[in-house]
């Protein structure tokens, strides 16, 4: 966890180059071929979802892998009303979760990184250990607890448990990041009379944008996909997030596969959009290095 700030060697990233500079293009060919093969294999699920989203049941059952014609664009119009509502719900659940996770992880990681205090490593370890808890074990006790608090079928009943799940990893990430900040920044401000809290949100927070992007995206992915908790706490199907929304087209007695897949495609679009806008920051956040 100790990333020394005293390195004088410049990492490859900052110099914009890597080591095979003298070998030329030729060296890249075998690498690229291997990468292309891996990428093709990786994209098979992706492509098959898209291909299948244009099929009706008859086409789907007779041919899974290849596209069939005519293309049924109406699958998308059938899926849209339900998916759009689910996407809206997911946004309502995910946004406060991400904000809370970033804030709390930031505060906590900062405290561990910049202060020495009694019990620091013990508390850190106790929090980190929570990652080992099997989620499925906690579902019933947590459900009874949420019900006692009157939070069944509410937004906060989803947001707070989700936040709690992400915090251990989040604060670990933020601690790693904050340890890389030179203390000179803080010393100067402290000498100018800033309070501790001001140090946090004036200096630490703005600098933490890359790490926040990474943590934010990871949290978003988690909330977008989590299925077990919402289906247990939410009673109204109108409040279901997207992870359940995509399943609405699969009934116990018949499934409209084409529409289901169209639903999956629509469900991925918001994520792709978010990725598109934050990709660079997301990568930058990992640049500082994630390690134990």
């Amino acid at each position: 966890m100790l990333k020394s700030n005293t390195t004088v060697r410049t990492p490859a990233i900052e110099r914009g180059k890597t080591t095979s500079k003298q070998a030329g293009w030729k060296n890249d060919i075998p690498l690229t071929i291997a990468l292309v093969v891996l990428a093709l294999l990786t994209y098979v699920p992706f492509v098959s979802v898209i291909v299948n989203s244009f099929k009706d049941n008859k086409q789907f059952f007779t041919q899974f892998w290849l596209p069939t014609f005519p293309l049924h664009f109406d699958n998308y119009s059938k899926a849209w009303p339900i998916i759009s509502q689910s996407i809206l719900n997911s946004v309502i659940y995910s946004t406060p979760t991400v904000i809370l996770v970033l804030l709390v992880s930031g505060l906590t990681g900062y405290a561990f990184a910049r202060y020495r205090f009694w019990g620091r490593e013990v508390i850190f370890l106790l929090m980190l250990i929570l990652i080992m808890l099997p989620g499925i074990l906690l579902v019933i006790p947590m459900f009874v607890e949420i019900k006692d608090m009157g939070w069944i079928n509410t937004v906060q009943g989803i947001v707070f448990p989700w936040t709690a799940v992400q915090i251990p990893f989040g604060m670990f990430l933020m601690r790693t990041f904050f340890e890389t900040l030179p203390k000179e920044y803080f010393e100067a401000a402290r000498l100018d009379g800033a309070s501790e809290l001001q140090l946090f949100y004036r200096i630490a927070l703005p600098l933490a944008t890359p790490a926040f992007s990474t943590l934010g995206i990871l949290t978003l992915l988690f909330t977008w996909n989590d299925l077990i908790w919402p289906i247990i706490t939410l009673l109204d199907s109108t409040r279901y997030p997207i992870s359940i929304g995509v399943l609405r087209f699969s009934g116990s007695f018949s499934t409209d596969f084409g529409v289901t897949f169209a639903g999956y495609v629509l469900a991925s679009v918001p994520l792709i959009v978010v990725f598109f806008f934050t990709a660079r920051r997301f990568m930058a956040g990992l640049q500082g290095g994630l390690s134990i």
Partner: protein, 485 residues
């Protein structure tokens, strides 16, 4: 004088009407949440959902002060049992709720209100002259009531519809292999025809699968084979308390199975079980190669549609889908009768596996009773199960046979009426024969046999062990009078 009498009459009239008004309002006001499974699933079947909504709407109009909220059916892949377990743990179950009668009866009055007293009473929504008017249970067939009764004698639900099974078969493949269901005079002939189909067309004969720790349509076959093996002992197993003059042949109640096991009459070491095992082995020999790895019945749809499966054992609920989407000509038939060639105890007939395991199984949650909504819930349930309401719902959904007297199955179900008239199986599914806990070990034991990991002798020993343990467990849970101390 006259005015006084008039005033008195008026007073009495006012008192009487206000009493009835008050009592009427007491019984029927409040909010009710209702889960109807397939009959309210807007994402899957908008038409039926709309119909159900309008039926609920009419009820609300007749009973101002009542709000009925329909809860959407769970998406597939979502475990209804998990959903219910969580809801019940928090007293948040819908007031009227669906559950399979097998698992519902296990939960019993911990979760559900016994409906016996209501079933004995009149159903105000059933018209005079129609069964059910004087006694609600008259509107439902006896054999259904018998099958869905819990081991403690209570009914925790009303079973309003019926699901039947059949073999949907690919007429083109059958023609290619030159086989015809009309020639199936015995089980043996059926199996050899399935093998012929595979030889001549390359397609697999029969669509079925075995799934660990879960239902699979192999359960149906399993029930049939046990029935055929033990058909001649049925009368020995029957207990007087379950007998019904109208139904000399009926399914065994778990208590009867448990008693037969503990008395030593029903034992897996009996030579009859050799018949059972060999029939089972024949069965799996005509299934697709990955029958142990198929995750759900619907996965076989693909194989059937792409012309790689000769016959597909599935249920009436597929009817709509097949009618609309199958790319070839198909027909509906069934397993042929078992003759003494197939099994010494055979009675020359096949057995149906259809049953009331369908969408129309509704019970009332204890939480509703605790909140004082019992009268309202019962009333709405009576309303819903009246033929003029439930009938149209089943016709619209088109996947189940309605059980309520006075309803009509509709044209879609025609092929299944023959099947529905076959005698029922003696043994219920592995999860309902004795108790739920006996299911998974039974599946594992049979799978080990099918995959060659256990031979006949070892399998019989294991099955006997499962039976003894299950019977003992049932005795401990239910405390029947005849149970050994």
């Amino acid at each position: 004088m006259k005015t006084r009498k008039l005033l008195l009459a008026l007073l009495i009239g006012i008192i009487l009407s206000s009493i009835s008004l008050v009592t009427a309002q007491d019984a029927l006001s409040g909010e009710l949440t209702v889960y109807l499974n397939a009959y309210y699933d807007p994402a899957q079947d908008q038409e039926t959902a709309d119909l159900t909504t309008s039926i609920a709407q009419k009820y609300m109009e007749e009973h101002p002060g009542v709000t009925i909220t329909l809860v959407e059916a769970l998406p597939a892949g979502q475990d209804a049992e998990a959903f219910l377990a969580a809801r019940m743990a928090a007293d948040e179950s819908p007031d009227i709720m669906w559950q399979q009668f097998g698992t519902r009866n296990v939960r019993g009055d911990t979760w559900w209100v016994p409906l016996n007293e209501f079933l004995d009473a009149p159903n105000p929504y059933i018209a005079e002259g129609t069964p059910g008017h004087d006694k609600w249970s008259d509107s439902l067939p006896d054999y259904v009531l018998a099958q869905t009764q819990a081991a403690d004698g209570n009914w925790y639900q009303v079973s309003l519809d019926w699901v039947e099974t059949g073999l949907f078969y690919n007429k083109e493949l059958f023609a290619q292999a030159e086989i015809d269901p009309a020639n199936w005079t015995s089980w043996g002939k059926f199996i050899s025809d399935m093998r012929t189909l595979k030889e001549k067309t390359g397609a697999d004969g029969l669509g079925a699968y075995v799934k660990q720790n879960d239902w699979s349509n192999w359960f149906w076959a399993d029930d049939l084979f046990l029935t055929v093996a033990w058909a001649d002992m049925a009368n020995d197993f029957y207990l007087e308390k379950y007998n019904d003059a109208n139904r000399p042949w009926r399914q065994l109640n778990p208590e009867e199975v448990a008693k037969a096991i503990l008395d030593g009459k029903l034992t897996a070491e009996d030579p009859r079980m050799d018949t059972y095992l060999s029939l089972s082995k024949d069965f799996v020999s005509v299934l697709p190669a990955d029958y142990n790895g198929i995750a759900s019945l619907d996965d076989l749809d693909q194989v059937f549609f792409s012309g790689q499966l000769g016959a597909y054992w599935t249920g009436t609920w597929k009817n709509k889908l097949f009618t609309n989407s199958v790319p070839f000509e198909y027909g509906v038939t069934y397993i042929p009768g078992f003759t003494t060639e197939d099994a010494p105890a055979a009675q020359g007939t096949a057995y149906r596996v259809g049953g009331p395991s369908s969408a129309g199984q509704y019970g009332i949650a204890q939480s509703a009773a605790r909140e004082g909504k019992l009268a309202l819930a019962v009333d709405f349930l009576q309303y819903l199960s009246a033929p003029q309401n439930f009938g149209p719902m089943t016709q619209s959904f088109g996947g189940f046979l309605p059980l309520v007297a006075g309803t009509d199955a509709g044209p879609v179900m025609s092929g299944f009426q023959d099947v529905a008239e076959l005698p029922e199986r003696l043994f219920n599914d592995p999860d309902n024969r004795l108790d739920l806990a006996a299911r998974d070990p039974w599946i594992s034991a049979m799978q080990a046999f099918f995959l060659g990991e256990a031979d006949e002798a070892a399998t019989k020993t294991t099955l006997q062990q499962i039976w003894i343990e299950g019977a003992t467990r049932l005795c401990a849970d239910q405390g029947y009078e005849w149970c050994p101390a």
